[in-house]
């Protein structure tokens, strides 16, 4: 393969299946440093990184945010954000070509053709106004001398290879007509259509639901086996690493912390940081030690903090010439549950299942029908002021702590704001209370004068927690509150939430898509699917004895952070999850929940 012409000459030789695992590495990075010019001068985001990627190998680069893993990928592609970031030292060799010395025109021939990349968010990396077919054939035609008809055939082959049904008619579809998983598969098809030597996948499944994630990972693995492509997989998820990697590089602050075979890293991590990282990963089957706090709660306070009965949330979609309601999104369809003091109820499900909408209805952010009773008072029967008073008892922590804090206010004022709004305490007392809250959530009280952007993600989420706690609510809704955090930070925030529960006796409605996290924190679990609860019970009932097929699939699909338990097949969806949008008059079938013992409720299969 050596001595291949660089540039736009179409490759004929490489269409043969590549030999598996030769000793010659396909990609070699030597002493690579990337620096970014910022306000305080230049800063290294990747320092002195060296690695070699063998043919047919899967190398995972794992690390938390800011570890420089994505910058490494962009450096290989020569796509570093201009003009701030540049390669300050080192070389990147693709076979015998040094990519760092190539000009943009020659690099363009390499990109897509010999090194392809797939990104995290498949919606934003596809052009929304061009059809799938157009985008696929465009890249094929750009890099080969195939005729349009041949390019089209190649595109269809690529779609079939990524297991997309009705490939031919899909070519005419637009990105928004496909689901997230489908879109990511199209991205993979695009990347692999030209049979590159190296595929760089930057968090390819992070934006996907867990059941879809398994499918995409499996697909990547199969395709790699078939074509002998070398894969660099960039991820923060140790579960994905364990499922996929031959070799792992752990990065932190731009430096390589540890490198080794996957089994070695998981079994015998040498670096302290690796050990911490692995210890912080939530695992299904490790959620113990919560029973103690629960018993106290049941003894102390008998009444529920919140009861939700037959909750419906529907959004009207207007259409037609006169803008009449033609269809409705049935986001939440008859959900009922109750939460006891000091209890954590987890609401799990995949995107679009209505879990966040349920939370929003409870927090008073969307109109609903049905009954929500907080502290014994039904919200729908109350006036504005009374409702405001009752709402004090329900506070919410959002997913993205940066988006949920007003960037133009000081964090001290933000935490004091709920007190101010409800007219609690004098100015001086408020200050003291806020300082105490800061203390309690692990921030220092002189950070009160700072603005949200001056904090890290985990600290910002602590600010949000302090804010939610300020009114001493009885119920805190945590909507994916730890999903956006790095695992080590996530573990600490979860611990904080548990401590606060013991201390204040607050109940949590914990909404998450991450089964491992849910198992770690919850007392009871409710699984939602298409706006309805399909299974509900204590944590042990749901996790040790999942009865509904959807629950089972959800639990099975979670990548296990243990390379010895690697699966060859992931749980597969029989079909795409149907849409929650329905025509007027076509209400979805209401699922009946039946008790299978000790309050373990399961919906009949339908």
């Amino acid at each position: 393969m050596a001595g291949r012409p660089e540039g736009g000459v179409p490759r004929q030789t490489s269409r043969k299946p590549a030999p598996a695992m030769t000793t010659n590495p396909i990609l070699t990075i030597t002493n690579l440093s990337v620096s970014v010019r910022g306000e305080e001068g230049s800063r290294e985001v990747v320092s002195n990184l060296s690695l070699a990627l063998a043919r047919g190998e899967t190398l995972c680069i794992a690390g938390e945010s800011g570890s420089g893993k994505s910058m490494t990928a962009l450096a290989i592609m020569q796509l570093l954000p201009q003009p701030a970031a540049r390669i300050s030292a080192g070389s990147i060799h693709l076979a015998d070509t040094d990519l760092t010395t190539l000009d943009e025109r020659r690099m363009r021939h390499i990109r897509g053709d010999r090194i392809a990349m797939i990104f995290q968010e498949p919606m934003t990396s596809l052009n929304p106004v061009l059809s799938i077919g157009r985008q696929l054939t465009e890249s094929i035609e750009a890099h080969t001398s195939l005729s349009p008809t041949q390019a089209r055939r190649r595109a269809i082959e690529a779609l079939i290879a990524v297991r997309i049904s009705e490939a031919e008619s899909r070519l005419r579809q637009f990105p928004h007509e496909l689901s997230g998983g489908m879109r990511q598969r199209v991205m993979i098809a695009m990347a692999l259509a030209l049979e590159p030597d190296v595929l760089i996948a930057d968090e390819p499944t992070t934006a996907l639901d867990v059941t879809v994630q398994g499918e995409v990972l499996e697909l990547l693995r199969d395709l790699q086996k078939k074509h002998g492509t070398s894969v660099i997989l960039i991820t923060h998820d140790m579960g994905v690493v364990a499922e996929m990697a031959d070799r792992v590089i752990i990065m932190r602050h731009g430096r390589m912390v540890e490198e080794g075979k996957t089994s070695d890293i998981f079994a015998r991590p040498r670096a302290d940081y690796t050990r911490e990282l692995l210890a912080a990963v939530p695992r299904i089957g490790s959620g113990v030690g919560r029973q103690a706090s629960k018993e106290i709660a049941e003894a102390a306070m008998p009444a529920n903090v919140a009861d939700v009965k037959d909750l419906h949330v529907r959004f009207d979609l207007h259409g037609g010439i006169f803008g009449q309601v033609t269809r409705r999104v049935h986001a939440v369809e008859g959900v009922s549950f109750s939460i006891a003091p000091n209890e954590t109820l987890a609401l799990v499900g995949e995107s679009g299942c209505g879990k966040s909408t349920t939370a929003k209805a409870l927090a008073g952010l969307v109109p609903y029908s049905g009954d929500i009773v907080v502290g014994g008072r039904n919200l729908s029967g109350l006036g504005r002021d009374e409702r405001k008073a009752v709402r004090r008892d329900v506070q919410m922590i959002f997913q993205d702590p940066f988006a949920s804090l007003d960037p133009r206010m000081r964090v001290g004022d933000l935490v004091a704001e709920p007190l101010l709004i409800h007219g609690i305490a004098s100015k001086q007392e408020r200050r003291e209370r806020v300082a105490a809250l800061f203390d309690r959530v692990g921030l220092s009280s002189d950070q009160m004068e700072l603005y949200p952007h001056e904090f890290s993600g985990g600290q910002r989420q602590r600010v949000c927690i302090a804010r939610a706690l300020a009114l001493r609510p009885k119920l805190i809704i945590a909507d994916e509150s730890v999903s956006a955090l790095d695992v080590s930070v996530q573990a600490r925030v979860l611990d904080l939430l548990k401590e606060l529960q013991r201390e204040f006796g607050v109940a949590y409605l914990f909404i998450s898509h991450d089964m491992a996290v849910v198992e770690n924190i919850s007392d009871r679990v409710a699984v939602m699917y298409l706006g309805q609860i399909v299974e509900m019970g204590t944590r042990d009932q749901v996790f040790s004895n999942p009865r509904h097929p959807y629950t089972r699939r959800l639990i099975e699909a979670v990548p296990v952070p243990d390379p010895t338990r690697r699966r060859s097949r992931f749980a597969r969806l029989d079909q795409e999850i149907p849409s929650a949008t329905r025509r007027i008059g076509e209400a979805p079938l209401k699922l009946a929940l039946s008790d299978v013992g000790d309050g373990h409720l399961v919906a009949a299969e339908g």
Binding site: M396, R408, H422, E432, D446, Y451, R467
Partner: protein
């Protein structure tokens, strides 16, 4: 729980600059903003002190202000900026014209900005039928030729400087409202607004404390852009005889009176044009600096 250790002391020790208290000081620390302030100060001073700064009457048609052939004089030792077609001293007219133009550029533009922001924010935040009614009305105003509307309004009322200012305000708020509406509706979708609602914040509180500060950059940009548009709109109205009545000078009508002689006497257009430009630029510089100073995420940047 532990009691906080003198939070005020700790805070002041960490943060050398208080945000609001130091706005003025930080404004004058910036060279460009200072330049803007100086220009505005010069214009204001010129407008107020006009009678003492020049020995001529703005409306006096001087015999020696024209050549023998009757054409205006270029800048010279006697008339620093030259004279106009009727032999009036241009510098004097520009100084007196500053009074009119400042009122139009600041008062009329300010009122337009205020109405536009109010309509835009209300429509953008509340949506529903309130938003629809307001925005359809705005669209209607946009579709209606502004000049025609101004002519109608000016015909109903007796033309005077203040009426002209009101007419200009009533015509000029529309674009601001559109832009502010779009921004508000996207802000209202942001998660921190939801977060405010969950802690029980009232609509006025959300609007004034959380949405308005984010709109400041846009408001400032539209405010400075509006200065030149309104000054020129006043000139247009004057030209049509429904603005400030001649012989009263305004920067706009000086340009309009003389634009046909641009090639023969370029200074007649150049100097008042430069004055409008300088004023707009000055406000732009101040606005730019203000935007950065008021945005905490920009703190510490040059």
């Amino acid at each position: 729980m532990t009691s906080p250790i003198a939070p005020d002391l700790a805070a002041t020790a960490r943060m050398p600059l208080k945000p609001r208290a130091g706005v003025w000081r930080r404004l004058v620390q910036r060279r460009l903003a200072l330049l803007g302030l100086v220009i505005v100060a010069v214009v204001v001073a010129g407008a107020i002190l006009a009678p003492w700064l020049t020995g001529y009457d703005p409306n006096e048609q001087m015999f020696d202000g024209l050549t023998i052939e009757g054409s205006p004089l270029p800048p010279n030792a006697k008339f620093w900026l030259g004279t106009d077609l009727l032999g009036r001293d241009l510098l004097t007219r520009i100084l007196y014209g500053a009074r009119t133009s400042l009122i139009i550029g600041i008062v009329a533009n300010g009122i337009a900005l205020f109405i536009g922001t109010l309509v835009g924010v209300t429509a953008g935040y509340f949506r529903g039928w309130v938003g629809s009614v307001l925005m359809r009305f705005t669209d209607l105003m946009m579709a209606f030729p502004a000049l025609l509307l101004a002519i109608c309004l000016a015909a109903v009322f007796q033309p005077s400087l203040w009426i002209v200012a009101m007419v200009i305000a009533l015509v000029n708020w529309v674009q601001t409202a559109r832009v502010i509406y779009t921004e508000t509706s996207s802000l209202a979708e942001r998660e921190f607004i939801d977060a405010e609602r969950t802690i029980g914040a009232s609509a006025p509180r959300i609007l004034f404390r959380h949405i308005l500060p984010h709109l400041l950059p846009t408001i400032i940009v539209w405010g400075t852009l509006g200065i030149s548009t309104t000054v020129l709109l006043e000139a247009t109205l004057s030209f049509l005889g429904i603005g400030v009545q001649p012989p009263t000078a305004s920067w706009g009508n000086i340009i309009f009176e003389n634009q046909t002689y641009f090639q023969a006497a370029p200074w007649l257009v150049f100097f008042p044009g430069a004055a409008i430009l300088a004023l707009a630029l000055a406000f732009n510089l101040i606005g730019d600096a203000l935007r950065d100073i008021l945005d905490p995420t920009q703190r510490g940047r040059a």
